[in-house]
């Protein structure tokens, strides 16, 4: 069984995201520990990419800052290795296809397995193109996380049937970022997913407040938050981990309800 399953064994899951190396890798390590200590069920680690086409301005900014600090894929693997000495919460990468492709998909998945990464989210890798990455991922026991969008319609069943780990349900059209309102009828999407698979699904894109997290988790198995955490890093810099810890605790309490 996938290690990711454990993330959904403590009631509704809260899944925070952080871009590795924003503003530096030491801060990322401290923030990840703060997330784990305050109830994060699964942690998404972003490997920065120069041109993150699925991200809104907030996470774009985090990618740029991290790359300016010379963060590389190898340094991120080293960070994971270090974190795994004391952090047991399931962790997945979120990055772009070219980061993995350039590293070599086989070598990348092998390093994931060696360092303790459980899965990977690639927003520019749709169902039709996943084989090239899912074959090596399977070899090393890494889950490729599938995304389902408000526009997926007749594609939901097909994607859900082959999904691994958990399903990332995209709450809204557009890119990542804080939204005041989420209008998509997610219960209908989740219903079709549940008819086709028993793996959990969590909702992301646009969530920032405890109320939003609570209502998103109510129709699914968990809530994913990225931009709101990056905002804390923007605001507090190196002292952000403490604020991130408080935020994660508040959000976890909200999703459990």
């Amino acid at each position: 069984m996938s290690n990711i399953r454990k993330a959904f064994e403590n009631g509704k899951a809260f899944i925070p995201f952080i871009t590795c190396g924003d503003p530096d890798l030491e801060t990322t390590a401290a923030a990840v520990r703060a997330m784990a200590e305050n109830g994060a069920d699964l942690i998404e680690l972003g490997i920065p990419f120069s041109d993150p086409t699925a991200e809104g301005p907030v996470i774009q900014g985090a990618n740029i800052r991290a790359l300016k600090g010379n963060v590389t894929t190898d340094k991120v693997f080293a960070l994971v290795e270090e974190l795994r000495k004391d952090v047991s919460v399931p962790m997945v990468f979120m990055t772009y296809a070219n980061v993995v492709y350039s590293y070599g998909a086989d070598r990348f998945m092998q390093r994931c397995a060696e360092t303790g990464i459980d899965g990977i989210i690639l927003p520019d890798l749709p169902f039709e193109e996943k084989e090239e990455f899912s074959e090596p991922a399977k070899k090393y026991g890494i889950d490729i996380i599938s995304l389902i969008a408000p526009t997926s319609a007749d594609r939901i069943a097909m994607i859900a049937k082959e999904a691994q780990g958990f399903i990332y349900v995209v709450s809204s059209l557009g890119v990542t970022g804080i939204r005041s309102e989420i209008s998509t009828d997610l219960s209908e999407i989740v219903k079709v997913i549940r008819e086709n698979t028993d793996i959990p699904c969590a909702v992301g894109f646009g969530i920032s407040t405890p109320e939003q997290a609570k209502s998103m988790a109510a129709v699914s198995d968990g809530a994913i938050v990225g931009s709101a955490i990056i905002r804390l890093l923007e605001k507090h810099g190196k002292s952000a981990p403490e604020f991130i810890g408080d935020y994660v605790r508040e959000m976890k309490e909200a999703v459990i309800g």
Binding site: D51, N98, V99, F127, E128, T151, A153, V170, V175
Partner: protein
């Protein structure tokens, strides 16, 4: 890759967010239907001929031929099209297709502004809303085109992310498309991005070689020895090459923007300096670092200032059917001035890259050989920038 569509050898595919998948599937279905639809083709031909001014001339450059003293040189005059470049060929096709699909809004990226102007023009003609994304750096380099787009009723959005050039304009247009799909068609300007764009754009630009092949047979009774075009994403080049691909004796030469040289970091010569990667919806060659971070490329030409190349070009390179050669800023500026002086034709700085390579190649060929150069656009938009390059400040 069992499910993957739109491959040219290993290149191409559809590396895009799930949010866009049904949109590109819908586009592919619509295109497959309309490309063989008599009524659609009749309307498109009427627009191309009566509005855009096709067919474009194949002009024998007598003075240039004599001056260089080698192969006979013909210029395929895409600069004479309405809006001043080859971009209109693709835009009229896509705008008409979008209209048939019930879309009311066109979005586009632009580098030099030629594709943006063409899209704004088609939108005005077909009563559609239009939003053009343009790197902030390019809005400065090509201020005249920004004004033209606004005049045509389009909204121009300056893009400040990344290097604030063409690559970032494409990223921003893609982001915009994921947020508004129902009424919006992304009118992509080059033979790049996810399937079906490289095929659709190629088919609409193939009119260039369909005409030039017939025109050269008419003028010379035989095919040319070389066809030369500039390559950024590669739309005018693929259009110029397409109908010659089966004619193995015709050399197909794409001229990449080498910027300050392929041995410097200030270059945009993708085939010559890049490697295989996945970006902007496609697998192809990209300028990138060892970790796959896309390189901040450079060229004097905003239209060629792109870190990738269309997947069909990457494939033509792999199989050795086409050659891709680097041309520097300096060579292109010299050619820009040379063609202006010699033939009284001011080419776009993009097209000047093709002229520059022809200037090197022609003298090495016999006088009975023939070269066709595609002049993809006119150079009015570049005059201020070239003047600056030569140290002269002019006010538009």
């Amino acid at each position: 890759m069992t499910n993957s569509k739109g491959r040219f050898g290993v290149h191409g595919g559809q590396y895009i967010p799930e949010t866009l998948m049904n949109a590109v599937i819908e586009l592919e279905k619509a295109y497959e239907h309309y490309k063989n639809d008599t009524e659609f083709n009749k309307e498109l031909t009427a627009l191309l001929n009566e509005y855009a001014g096709r067919p474009s001339l194949l002009y024998y450059a007598d003075k240039m031929t004599k001056d260089l003293g080698g192969a006979k040189i013909y210029l395929k005059r895409e600069d004479l099209n309405h809006t001043g470049s080859h971009k209109i060929n693709n835009v009229l096709g896509q705008a008409l297709l979008a209209k048939k699909m019930g879309k009311t809004r066109l979005i586009a990226e632009t580098g030099a502004g030629q594709h943006g102007v063409a899209t704004a023009t088609a939108a005005a003609l077909l009563n559609m809303e239009c939003v053009v994304f343009m790197g902030e750096e390019d809005t400065k380099r090509q201020a005249l085109n920004v004004y033209r787009m606004k005049l045509l009723g389009a909204q121009v959005v300056p893009v400040t992310s990344g290097t604030a050039t063409l690559k970032d304009a494409v990223s921003e247009a893609m982001r915009e498309w994921t947020s508004r799909i129902d009424d919006t068609h992304y009118c992509l300007g080059s033979v790049m991005g996810p399937h079906p764009f490289p095929t659709i754009v190629r088919d609409f630009q193939a009119v260039i070689s369909r005409e030039s092949r017939a025109q050269i047979l008419e003028a010379e009774g035989r095919l040319p020895d070389a066809v030369i075009a500039c390559v950024g994403g590669g739309s005018n080049a693929i259009g110029s090459f397409y109908h010659y691909i089966p004619d193995k004796d015709v050399r197909l030469i794409g001229c990449e923007a080498a910027g300050r040289g392929i041995d410097t970091f200030e270059t945009a010569a993708t085939v010559n300096t890049g490697r295989l990667g996945i970006f902007h919806g496609m697998k192809s060659y990209f300028c990138q670092d060892e970790y796959g971070q896309i390189a901040p490329v450079y060229s004097i030409s905003a239209g060629l200032d792109y870190p990738g190349i269309g997947p069909e070009h990457a494939h033509l390179h792999d199989i050795g059917r086409a050659e891709y050669v680097p041309v520097t800023d300096d060579e292109a500026v010299n050619a820009f001035e040379y063609l202006s002086r010699t033939e009284g034709i001011i080419p776009a700085i993009e097209s000047a890259h093709a002229v520059a390579y022809a200037m090197k190649l022609a003298p090495t060929m016999d006088k009975d050989k023939i070269i066709v150069i595609t002049i993809s656009g006119r150079g009015d938009k570049d005059c201020a920038a070239i003047a600056r390059y030569r140290g002269e400040e002019i006010y538009e």
